[in-house]
Amino acid sequence: MRAKRRFQFDYISITVTIGVLLYLAVLIFPLLLSFYFSFTNFNLLNATNSFVGGENYISMLSDDTFRSTLWFTLKTSFIVTLLANVLGLAVAMALNHRGPIYTTMRTVFFVPQVLSAVVIGFIWSGMLNSQRGLVNTLLRQIGLIGVGGNISWLGTPTLATLSVIGVCIWQMIGFCTVVYLAALQGVPQDLKDAANVDGANRWQTFRNVTFPLLSPGVTVNVVMLLIMMFKLYDIIQVMTAAGPAGTTESLAFYVTRMAFTVNRVGYASAMAVVLFIFIAIISAGLGAFLRSREVEY
């Protein structure tokens, strides 16, 4: 066996050491602290801070708000991921051509990815404003609603949920489109030609040749979108502030509110841990499952 080398004071080892220590301090140590907090009744309002075992986790089960925010998060994540992927793929297939027109159109679909969620939230709050918003104005002009009629897009529970879902899809389509465009460019033309020669129609070619080869793109898009949707916070804060009556409150929003407004740090930590576990399962579990079904040629 080789003798153990001593720590060398060269550029790489010094930089790596500082970087890793910083990372441990900012991310890993707080993560462990969060686990610890989640077993305490840490609350900034009363000075006591004692160990309560699994009480916070048990309270979650009977917390209606926790259940409704979790349900809202699961529901919106699933719908947005599904629809943004379908629409993103459709856009990618339609725009997978050369030329300035197509390049411009691709750019339009990608721009929301560059904007902050805060800006997107405000643009759409303006669009969906019941009196002066453009959406209702246009609907009035084409006669779908009466002259004095208003649809309260952000004011009723169902419509507010649908609006949030719609805006998230609008924001995410560009991401899916770019990834699918990249994947489409990796599909060899001769495979499609071969399918053609064998008498496959366009749907069959897509279903049996193109789509399976897009599977790495599907993995990336599904996992990334689910993770981003599970963290959904900014758009809710700007567009609905969780209203009306808490119906558009996401789990990430509830955790943030509990931790920094209500100051129930222990309980918020327990929910944050649950959120983390959900995300870990999605990225590791679902990612591995989708990857195992990927096809190569």
């Binding site: 790489i12 993560l31 805060v118 920094f260 944050a272």
Partner: protein, 276 residues
């Protein structure tokens, strides 16, 4: 062009126009008077006015000018340090196959899954103890050492694994020390990885909302994104022109960045897609 192709192109253009309508509206209304915005939200500006932009910049609380400065400094300093740390860590993980390097790889992969709330809750408690809430340095440290670092390490590790070792070894044999070897020989070869890291990190830091909201708090040298949120929260129903002007100012730097580096942007995303 065949008639059918033409119809498809028209349809695509219509769909794209509908998709881009909110963006178009935000842009044209920045240059309109309040009266025209209310009467004619979709038309071109007539008269054309820069009043909204001027008013946004001239706000008495200086939110816009200060926000732009704060965000720019935050982005430059954080990205600079993240590139230095992540390129070295990525190099270490890619070039070693020890238990330590594998452990580090796992540790940094895990970092990408941690939602901000999980580490922000304890960090706020720690910062409160050390009176770091509202401090610029505190935010910088969290940006540099947080989840963004793990993303950058992931990009550099993947990239360096595909760079042949020979050049580095030759440089070391020729008497270069590790610092010279890394910055003079290896780092120039990592340009595409660096481009991906710099572009996405700049975008994310510029647009980040929760972290500065919690750690800086309102009123303490806010970032531009936080500034927009605070300003629009106050005047949103009153003055549309101001609202669009502020969003425009907050978005233009990143839009310009995107248009200049569009190729690298797409390449960065594609790299992720192809690796899976």
């Amino acid at each position: 062009m065949k008639p059918k192709q033409f119809t498809v192109l028209i349809l695509l253009t219509l769909i794209t126009a509908l998709f881009g309508l909110p963006l178009y509206m935000a842009v044209v209304n920045t240059f309109k008077t309040q009266a025209q915005i209310l009467a004619d939200p979709l038309g071109f500006p007539a008269p054309f006015t820069l009043d909204n932009l001027a008013k946004a910049f001239g706000r008495p609380d200086n939110l816009v000018a200060r926000g732009l400065l704060t965000s720019t400094i935050l982005v430059i300093v954080s990205v600079f340090f993240i590139v230095i740390f992540s390129s070295a860590i990525g190099y270490y993980i890619a070039r070693h196959n020890t238990r330590l390097s594998q452990g580090l790889q796992l540790l940094f992969l895990a970092g990408m899954m941690i939602p901000a709330q999980v580490y922000l809750i304890p960090i706020v408690q720690i910062f409160r103890t050390f009176h770091l809430i509202g401090s610029f340095v505190g935010v910088l440290v969290v940006f540099i050492g947080g989840g963004l670092l793990s993303f950058a390490v992931f990009v550099y590790t993947g990239f360096i694994k595909n760079v042949p070792r020979e050049l580095e070894e030759a440089a070391l044999i020729d008497g270069a020390n590790k610092f010279q070897m890394f910055w003079k020989i290896l780092f120039p070869l990592l340009r595409p990885a660096t481009a991906t890291v710099v572009i996405f990190l700049s975008l994310w830091i510029w647009n980040e909302f929760l972290l500065p909201l919690i750690l800086l708090g309102p009123g303490n040298g806010v970032t531009i994104t936080l500034g927009v949120y605070m300003a629009l929260g106050q005047l949103y129903t009153i003055n549309y022109g101001q609202m669009f002007a502020m969003m425009m100012i907050a978005s233009v730097p990143m839009l310009a960045f995107f248009f200049i580096f569009q190729k690298e942007f797409i390449a960065g995303l594609m790299g992720g897609a192809l690796k899976g």
